[in-house]
């Protein structure tokens, strides 16, 4: 681990000010991903600004939106009675991820900003355009079983590992930011960037910007929702594929549908085209199969991950069937 300086911020303003005035500073949340990457010499910040003790009270805003401070731990979000009652796939996604200890440490902001688990990204001895722009990608012709089938580029086919982000994408969450230039808000679905030819640019945050809050509108009252994850051991493993779905059915017809896919792209993948197919369609297996086909129409397999496409299709269809 490269030497660094450490300072702790007690509020957003001082955190942003500290980051702005400290060369090479990055924010430290729960540390579950950043400290690991620093120990592998993959992240090499000169300074850490600890934001893990910023206020973390979860509440419903006056606009009816759920407001989750970025410093809230995953456990606190999953345990929150309002989250569990009205935003249940957030809780479901969280408890499908990592372990009890990691969920106690990991913050919501850090969860969104965590980096890929691509084995080549994690190995300083391998080529990785994300780690060293222009150095090449060993995953292209290498072991790419866990890699992306949607939105990948020849330069990078890494996936985003978060479960929570998939649920938030399905729920139309927004991300509230504070930075040297003030505050702004982005849609969660616009937070992460696809790799293109700049896979090292993973998100739309400006330098020094800090996620302060994630807000989520209440889902349709009649909608049923589920988060489904497939993995290689029963717990404590990243997703092969995952699905966050909300489905509102009235008199056998789909009134509204939201579908987000995990483990298949560099970002939580909102399947808007499939939602369009579903809306107004009969709530039947045939509709769900058509929606899954549309959702995966642009999916492209690599050498070892072709199974993800039919597996994802099966999980989409069964999840929607379960919700109808």
């Amino acid at each position: 681990m490269k030497p660094f300086t450490y300072q702790r911020a007690d509020d957003v303003a001082s955190a942003v000010a500290a980051a702005a005035t400290t060369p090479g500073a990055v924010y430290l949340g729960g540390g579950t991903n950043l400290v690991d990457l620093m120990r592998q010499n993959i992240e090499r910040p000169a300074a850490l600004v600890d934001i893990s003790r910023l206020p973390a009270r979860i509440e419903i805003g006056t606009d009816g939106r759920l407001r989750i401070p970025a410093a809230a731990t995953n456990t606190d979000v999953a345990a929150d009675p309002v989250v569990r009652r009205d935003f249940r796939i957030i809780a479901e996604a969280i408890v499908n991820g990592a372990s009890g200890q990691i969920r106690n440490m990991a913050t919501v902001g850090g969860n969104l900003m965590q980096r890929t688990r691509c084995l080549y990204f994690y190995d300083a001895g391998a080529h990785c355009n994300k780690r060293e722009p222009g150095s090449g990608c060993d995953a292209v012709d290498g072991h790419n079983r866990m890699h992306a089938v949607l939105g990948a580029s020849p330069h990078c086919m890494a996936t985003h590992p978060s479960d929570l982000a998939v649920a938030l994408a399905a729920l139309d969450a927004r991300v509230h930011l504070a930075g040297p230039a003030g505050q702004r808000t982005v849609e969660l679905r616009d937070l992460h960037r696809l790799p293109g030819d700049t896979p090292h640019v993973e998100h739309t945050l400006e330098p020094g910007e800090l996620i302060t809050t994630v807000s989520v509108p209440a889902p349709p009252a009649e909608a049923r929702s589920a988060y489904r994850k497939v993995r290689e051991r029963a717990s404590y493993a990243f997703a092969l594929v995952s699905v966050a779905a909300l489905l509102e059915v009235r008199d056998g017809t789909v009134v509204s549908a939201r579908l987000a896919l995990g483990g298949v792209a560099a970002k939580p993948w909102r399947a808007a085209s499939a939602e369009a197919v579903l809306t107004g369609a009969p709530a039947t297996r045939a509709s769900f199969e058509r929606a899954a086909d549309v959702a995966l129409a642009d999916a492209r397999p690599l050498t070892h991950n072709g199974f993800k496409i039919p597996l994802m299709r099966r999980v989409i269809v069964s999840t929607l069937e379960e919700l109808s």
Partner: protein, 738 residues
């Protein structure tokens, strides 16, 4: 002997309180004054030459004490192989003696600094350049024409009885399939750790997480040209080993670095170094072909296995051993081949050979049963041989048919539906599978022990043995208490230090019986010495060791005769204590007999219809391993082996990039050992019939429990879904055929 024996009782572990309270000090936790900390720099290429090492930045990093590379490493001899019974190495590759790279992950420098953080950082600043050579990495390209090894664990690499291929062609019913298992890594939760302190140029102490104390001592003597008595190796608690905590390059490098740094040095391998610096279990490709008559008896049993080693290694994985011992057949065609690759050395991992070999054999038996439309357990009973099928030796004890019968009753095997894809609970298909387990009995030669009795009525057994969680200290105290005729709480067992009499490595499920044999010898020496001390008015005067028995804390004439307590003998002789030391008798029991542990594994799995995820929901292992000394620790050994077998069945795979030879998933996050949620309640039972030829009538339990596990799971998955998975691990995509 004890009137009220403690052997056979579920005595709690002696080290329990220390382990649950954090008091037990493992190797990296033993305080050593003035210790500096080391970090390895490892190659990122598999084959070639180091062309340059730039230490400029690293040398100027804060806290750096010393850096060693092949330029300034001392001359060190090659560590002897484990198979020689002198050493504990799996490779004859020299350690930091030249510029040559033999695998990706080979240490090329060791950096010593004041703190671990400083050593880590400085190591990241070492710049190494290489001239690449063509590496042997692609197994599928190299397996054709792979040579036979000189031997497979001391046995012939091939066994040909009759013309098995011809018999196969002529058979009424045939199975002829290829099975594959991937590389595995032991993944003990304690990473390898070593601390070395030189006392002067000729003597040192090494604290090491090892399962081969005596052999590590001998290795250091050979490598550094030291006298054996000037080397002390200490290993009190070992945080799991599973065959991997033997002698690797890191202990040698730590010792050399400590000499260079002129102070004690501690080296704890990072988790990725555990994966890349030490070796795991080879991948395997195995053809099993079975020919059968209509009545189900075997006309041909063919098992051909190709495995890998690193460059300059000596470990051919004994995949075909189960096929040599389990079933009778008219003809046998057994053959092993080895491909040498630029990978870390192949090493012994729990039930080496038998675990992955039984996957192939026991799946093939299941396939044959289906073709013959016979219950797979019934079919196995038809193959039961009267004597060892390939050597003709009689078995010392083999009660496999009874294990089948009792296991089947207990598991409820009769209620199984033999038709695949016929039981379902919601989205979960349910299936059941069975497989046979066997593992050879071994008693390694060379172990010694001492027994000391004291005037206060206590006895202490000492041997340089190992406690990696098997319960060594507990079960040996139990055995010694009965053997010496003392209450358990008056027997101490000291181990983990080369100052004690030499011990065999903890491997091959052989440590328990090997120690017992040496305790028997030591006790006999002690008894003789005590008898010499008795005075002429003692009832024991003139008696020899064969005339007496040990009971009630003393020595008594046989058949309830008179005698004296030890304290009495010692007091009258004016002695506080007396020690007898002895060497275990040569392991002649295997000369005329085949000796093996046996067992049968039954399991139930649930396979998700949509996702293909497999969950093991029920397990029964029924074992025939002779007498059990401690049911509690034995149960844990069996269960632990089954858990590791479930891991190999469903999730474990060490992934090498075949372009670079580099282990990719060198973390516990991406190498999937089973977690709590993967493991159902595991029922374990045993027959308990004594093996008349084994010391204590008991055989090894640590490894046989893993044998057959992956096959039982695969057979159950077939029963659940109708899909045969012949390559491990059984992942969702394979189950769904995607």
């Amino acid at each position: 002997m004890n009137a009220d024996p403690v052997v056979g009782r579920a005595v709690p572990r002696r080290d329990g309180p220390a382990k649950v309270s954090g008091a037990a000090a493992f190797t990296a936790e033993v305080p050593v004054e003035g210790t500096a900390h080391a970090k390895l720099v490892c190659s990122t290429v598999a084959a070639g030459e180091i062309t340059g090492i730039d230490l400029t930045e690293a040398r100027s990093a804060p806290g750096v004490v010393a850096i060693m590379t092949h330029h300034n490493a001392p001359a060190m001899r090659i560590a002897p192989l484990l198979i020689t019974l002198r050493g504990a190495s799996f490779t004859r590759a020299p350690v930091m003696q030249d510029a040559r790279i033999r695998w990706n992950g080979q240490p090329v420098a060791i950096v010593v600094a004041e703190t671990p953080e400083q050593a880590d950082h400085a190591a990241s600043l070492v710049r190494v350049s290489y001239a690449l050579a063509e590496a042997r990495l692609v197994f599928d390209d190299l397996k054709a024409g792979a040579p036979q090894p000189d031997h497979v664990q001391g046995e012939a690499p091939a066994v040909m009885i009759g013309d098995a291929e011809a018999a196969l062609r002529a058979a009424d019913t045939r199975v002829d399939q290829v099975y594959r298992t991937p590389w595995h890594t032991h993944c003990a939760i304690e990473p390898h750790a070593t601390t070395v302190a030189w006392h002067d140029d000729r003597s040192l102490t090494m604290w090491d997480a090892t399962q081969a104390i005596t052999h590590s001592q001998a290795t250091l003597a050979e490598v550094f040209s030291l006298d054996l008595e000037n080397i002390r190796v200490v290993s009190q608690f070992v945080g799991g080993a599973f065959g991997n905590k033997m002698m690797w390059s890191h202990q040698i490098l730590c010792a050399a670095a400590a000499r260079l740094a002129q102070r004690p040095v501690r080296l704890v391998l990072s988790r990725s170094d555990v994966f890349r610096v030490t070796g795991g279990r080879t991948r395997t490709e195995q053809r099993v072909a079975l020919g059968a008559r209509a009545d189900g008896t075997l006309t041909a049993l063919i098992h051909e296995a190709t495995t890998t080693t690193g460059i300059s290694d000596g470990f051919a994985e004994q995949c075909t051993f189960p096929a040599r011992v389990l079933y009778g057949a008219d003809t046998f065609g057994i053959d092993q081949r080895v491909v040498e690759l630029h990978t870390p050395a192949n090493s012994s991992m729990r039930a080496p050979g038998e675990s992955v070999g039984s996957f192939a054999l026991e799946c093939a038996i299941d396939e044959l049963a289906e073709q013959l439309d016979v219950d797979p357990l019934d079919l196995r009973t038809r193959f039961e041989p009267a004597a060892h099928p390939t050597t003709g030796k009689p078995f010392s004890a083999r009660h496999l048919l009874e294990a089948y019968r009792l296991g089947a009753e207990r598991f409820g095997w009769a209620e199984r539906s033999s038709a695949p894809r016929s039981r379902r609970d919601g989205p979960w298909w349910i299936g059941q599978g069975v497989a046979t387990a066997t593992y050879p009995y071994t008693r390694m030669p060379g172990g010694r022990a001492s027994v000391t009795v004291s005037a206060d009525g206590h006895a202490t057994v000492r041997t340089a043995a190992h406690e990696m969680g098997m319960g060594t200290a507990t079960v040996q105290a139990q055995y010694a208490a009965d053997h010496l005729g003392l209450p358990l709480d008056r027997v101490h067992f000291e181990y983990g230090d080369s100052r004690h009499p030499a011990a065999v490595p903890a491997g091959g499920s052989a440590q328990t019986v090997s120690i017992i044999a040496s305790v028997v010898a030591a006790t006999r020496a002690l008894t003789a010495e005590l008898l010499r001390l008795t005075s002429s008015d003692s009832p024991l005067a003139g008696a020899g060791t064969d005339d007496v028995e040990l009971r009630d804390g003393g020595i008594y004439l046989r058949d309830g005769g008179a005698g004296q307590s030890w304290p009495d003998i010692l007091r009258r002789a004016g002695r506080d204590e007396l020690t007898g030391e002895g060497a275990a008798s040569p392991p002649t029991e295997t000369a005329q007999h085949a000796m093996h542990s046996f067992g049968v594994q039954f399991c139930e799995v649930r396979v998700h219809d949509v996702t293909g995820e497999v969950r093991v929901s029920r397990w029964l292992g029924m074992f025939d391993t002779g007498r059990i000394i401690n049911p509690r620790t034995a149960t844990s050994q069996f269960r632990g082996a089954i858990v590791m077998g479930i891991g190999s069945a469903l999730s474990e795979e060490t992934i090498f990039d075949e372009r670079t030879g580099r282990v990719l998933n060198a973390t516990l996050a991406e190498y999937h050992v089973p977690v709590h949620a993967d493991i159902p309640p595991i029922e374990v039972a045993w027959l308990g019939h004594p093996d008349p030829l084994a010391p204590m009538a008991g055989k090894g339990v640590g490894e046989v429990g893993m044998v057959g596990v992956a096959a039982a799971v695969a057979n159950a998955v077939y029963n659940a879904t109708g899909r045969r998975i012949r390559d491990l691990p059984i992942t969702p995509d394979k189950v769904l055929g995607l």
